[in-house]
Structures are given as C-alpha cells and as structure tokens.
C-alpha cells in the first residue's frame, strides 16, 4: 500500500517533467534532425539524402560563416572573461560592506534592458551621426563624421557587453567562497603575483570560470540581434543564415541542416570545455 502510494506520487511528479522534456525538447530536436535529411524532389515527394549537408560544405559562404561565427564567439568569450575577472575579484575580495552589494547590483544594470535595447544604445553611440562621432569632432580630432558601426569591432563590443553579466555573477560567487589564507600561503611560500594567480586563484575559480564561459559562449553563438544590427555586410553570423532559410526562403530542409550543424558545434565546444577543465555539467550549471 505504502509503496503504491509513493509510486503514484512519483509518477504524478514525473509526468509534467516528462511532458515538458519530451514534447518541447526531445521530439522537436529529433524531428529537426529528420527533416535535415529529407530532400524535396517535387512538391509532394520526399527522398532521404544528405544534399543539405553537401550544400553546406560545397557553398563556401556557409562554412566560412560557420567557422567565423565559432571563432568570433570563442574570442568574445575569452575577452569577456579577461574583462570580467578583475571586476569580479574586486567585488568578491577587495570591496567591503555596502560598496560590495552596490557594485554587484551595478553589474546587473545591463539586465534591466533587453538585448535589443542594449544594441540600440550602442548604435546611437557608434554610428556616423552618433555621439562618439560628434564628440571627437567637437574635440577637433577629426574633420568629418566617423562611422564606427557596421564592423567586427563594433559587433564584439556589443557581444561582450551582452555577456558580461553572465560572466561576473558566477565568478563573484566562486571567488567569494575562497579562503584568503590560501592566497597568503601562496605569497608566504615565495610565489609572485603570477604564480599565485595561476596555481591558487584560477584552479579555485574554475567552476565559475567554466560556467560563465559556457553561458557567454552559448549566448554569443546563438545571438542574432547584435551581429545583424551592428555588423557590416561582411560580418554575417550563422544564426542569420538559419533565419534566412526558414523565414525568407521557406527552405526548411536546408535550415534544419544548418540548425543541426550549429547545435553540433555548440555541443562539441561545451563538451570540450568541460573535459579540458575537468568539470561536469551538473556541477557547473546546477
């Protein structure tokens, strides 16, 4: 009797979870995989094949954008880590009392606005008629308006801005729990700043570093607004191509194949990141 009651309650708790995971995650992704191997021969006949994947490798535009997106995402993630680490260190270890809380909250400022609003703010600053251009003209450094938008640097500025919050928060959380005696011991034993950082601080902060990097990388790789609005004609992003296939060309088969490739790329890099740093997804995300 007792066990059948607990079995019933287990299934009652399990049902919503399974509905969510199966109906919204597993089935849709399996279907996407299936569609990516379908080749439309005429309007109502479908064959199986790998034509979409062949297109990806033969059309240099596809795979160039793919590689570019991956490399730029990795670079953005790395840059975000480098920028965020001293800030997180200050908040976790050097600031005290009220200023600690205030600084931490200040890091959440960008989260008050959506990605669209943040990108829009950067556009107002960087474009030809924008504020930076007006300011340096007023200072007399240049004669005419300067276009700072629509290039890769602008895209990276915007992407780093979007990711910072998700890097600072996990870093502060892990650094906060560090025992300062470890750092002192490192110095007492004759280590310099570099050695202490490399041998003590970074290993300790590794879960936070990995978790921040994974989130920032995922956000960057999957971002659409920032590269589209801030990038120039040469800075295509891979999500843009998926979007074009689905919305503009109604070529679902090709779009699904590109989607699968993006998913494979992100999974492989996240998996590699976890393997190299010796972390597990559960420890880093849960």
């Amino acid at each position: 009797m007792r066990s059948s009651v607990s079995r019933l309650s287990l299934w009652l708790l399990l049902t919503p979870f399974l509905l969510w995971i199966v109906l919204l995650v597993l089935l849709p992704h399996l279907q996407m995989l299936r569609v990516s191997f379908q080749v439309r021969e005429s309007w109502d006949t479908i064959a199986w094949g790998i034509e979409q994947y062949q297109n990806f490798f033969t059309e240099s535009y596809y795979w160039r954008t793919f590689v570019r997106t991956g490399v730029m995402s990795l670079f953005t993630t790395f840059l975000t880590l480098i920028i965020a680490f001293p800030i997180a260190w200050y908040i976790a270890r050097l600031a005290r009392g009220r200023s600690k809380g205030i600084l931490f909250l200040a890091c959440l400022i960008p989260f008050w606005a959506s990605e669209l609003v943040r990108t829009y703010g950067w556009m107002i600053l960087l474009r030809e008629s924008g504020l930076f251009s007006s300011w340096i003209q007023a200072l007399g450094w240049v004669d005419g308006p300067v276009e700072m938008l629509y290039n890769d640097v602008a895209v990276i500025i915007g992407l780093v801005y979007n990711g910072l919050l998700f890097m600072v928060v996990p870093l502060v959380t892990t650094l906060d729990g560090m025992d300062e005696n470890l750092v002192e011991a490192g110095y007492d034993l004759g280590g310099g700043h570099g050695t202490v950082l490399r041998e003590i601080v970074v290993p300790w902060a590794m879960p936070g570093i990995v978790s921040g990097c994974i989130v920032v990388f995922m956000l960057t790789l999957g971002s659409y607004l920032t590269p589209v609005l801030m990038g120039g004609k040469d800075s295509a992003w891979f999500t843009e191509q998926i979007f074009t296939q689905f919305i503009t060309r109604f070529n679902w088969e090709q779009g699904a194949a590109l989607g699968v490739l993006l998913l494979v790329l992100s999974s492989v890099i996240v998996w590699l990141g976890l393997k190299i740093s010796g972390q597990s997804l559960r420890k880093v995300m849960g």
């Binding site: 708790l13 992704h29 200050y90 890091c107 703010g121 989607g259």
Partner: protein, 283 residues
Amino acid sequence: MIRSVPRSRLFDCLYLAYLMAFFVYLALPLLVTAVFAFNDAPFPSLPWKGFTLDWYFADGSEGRTGLFHDDGLLTALWVSANIAFWVTLVSVALGCVNAVLFERVQFRGKEFLYLLMLLPLVIPGVILGVSILVFYSGMANDMSAAWGIELDLFRPGMTLVVMGQVTFIATLSTLVIAARLRKFDPQLEEAALNLGATPLVAWFTVTLPWLLPSIFGAAAMAFLMSFENFNTTVMLTGSDTPLTVALFNRLREGSTPVLNAVALLLMVGSALLALLVMGRSSR
C-alpha cells in the same frame, strides 16, 4: 592581491580607474538611450534640441506620434504581456513540481533526468525556436495536407511562442526554486505530519510558504526573460508580433525617438519589478 597583501599606490589607482571605466561602459548605452527619449528632434542624435515629452504623448496631429498613441506598439506591448503571463505561470508551476521531484524524491535514473533538465541551457535559443517550429508547424501542415484537419493552434503564433519560451525558462525557474528547497529542513514538514496534518496540508502550510520568496523571484525572472526574449520568439511568431519583434522591425526601417521612449519604459519597468522582488525577499 587580497586586502592583507600590500599593494603599490600606482596599482590601486590603475585598478580604480579600470573599475570606473568598466561601469561607464556598462551604463553609457542605456543612459544615452534614456536621455534621447526626451530630445526635441526627429532623430535620436546630437545636437540637443531641448526637452520634450512628445515621444510619449504626441497624438500625431503635428507629424509626431508618441508611444501612447502608437497603436502598433501598444498592441505589441499587450501581446508581449500576454505571452509573458502564460510563460511565467507555466514555468513557475513546472519549476515547483521539478524542484520537489529532484530534491525530495529518490528514484532510478534521477541523475540522467537532471542532465536532461539542464539541456535547454546549452541549446542556442534560435535552435529551440527552429526545432519547435519544424515539429509543430510541420505537423499542422501534414495534418492539413493528409486529412484536411486544421491545427491552427500549432501554426506560428502566440501558442508556439509560449511553448518555445517555456522550454528554457522552465529550467531556470526549476534551478531557482530547487536551490531554495535544498535549504529547507524536512523535519519541519515531519513535525506538521506528526501533529496530524495530511501531506497536502503540510505542503501548503509549511513547505510552500518557505518556497514563496524563490517562487516570486522565479516569477519575476521568468516574466522579464519572456518579455525580453528575441531569438526564440522571432522564429515562432505569427501575425500578432510581440514587442521585441515589433521594435526590431521598426529599427530596421530607421530609428526614431519613439524607440527610445519604449526602451526607457521597459528599463523602468524591469527595474521596478527587480526592486519589488528584492524588497520582498530581503524582508
């Protein structure tokens, strides 16, 4: 570099300068967006032409239509609010059930299911949208072609947007609520049961009140995430466009200070919501 290790003055100055620069970098785009919502010029750029509230209240009679008379944006705002409401409701409910499942029940395969639960966090938002579009909208197409059954529910539109957003927001709300449940002392619930409460009564009078701060936190987060989401939403939206998509379409046509006005309104809205939740949880 901890407090007890001596540092040079120069290093301190540089560090502080870096901090200042960082916070300027964080605040500048948002500040600029907010300020230009009040510039009396048809284009959000310098020079400053004076203060105006036209971009909120102008009724279109002088060639300017303010936000509160712009039917397109107001409709989009309403659509977004509707979507966010349903996403919040479903995600928080799922979050509560999942939290109990993973924190309080022992069963085989739990570790594996927990990893499945985390999965939506490592899938790019665009892919979540695309896969749901392909599965459900494709199903609607096939049904219509094969048997003439029209499943309009699964055509791009509000239902699909809600489904797409719930996919990953439910994971986040599960994590928030589970973290709080982990700190709960099960003896409190046992005490209630010993004193004669049924499990259901004990849940509603002891456990749920303990979870309430995290439920409010998860709800506020879910609402904001849903309201601000673009990547998943844009793939699934139909003719009733939510605010972020409507703003994006406007922005492609060219920027006007009305966009700044909407942006400022959104910022104030999310800041108020965040303060409200923080005020509640600190009490």
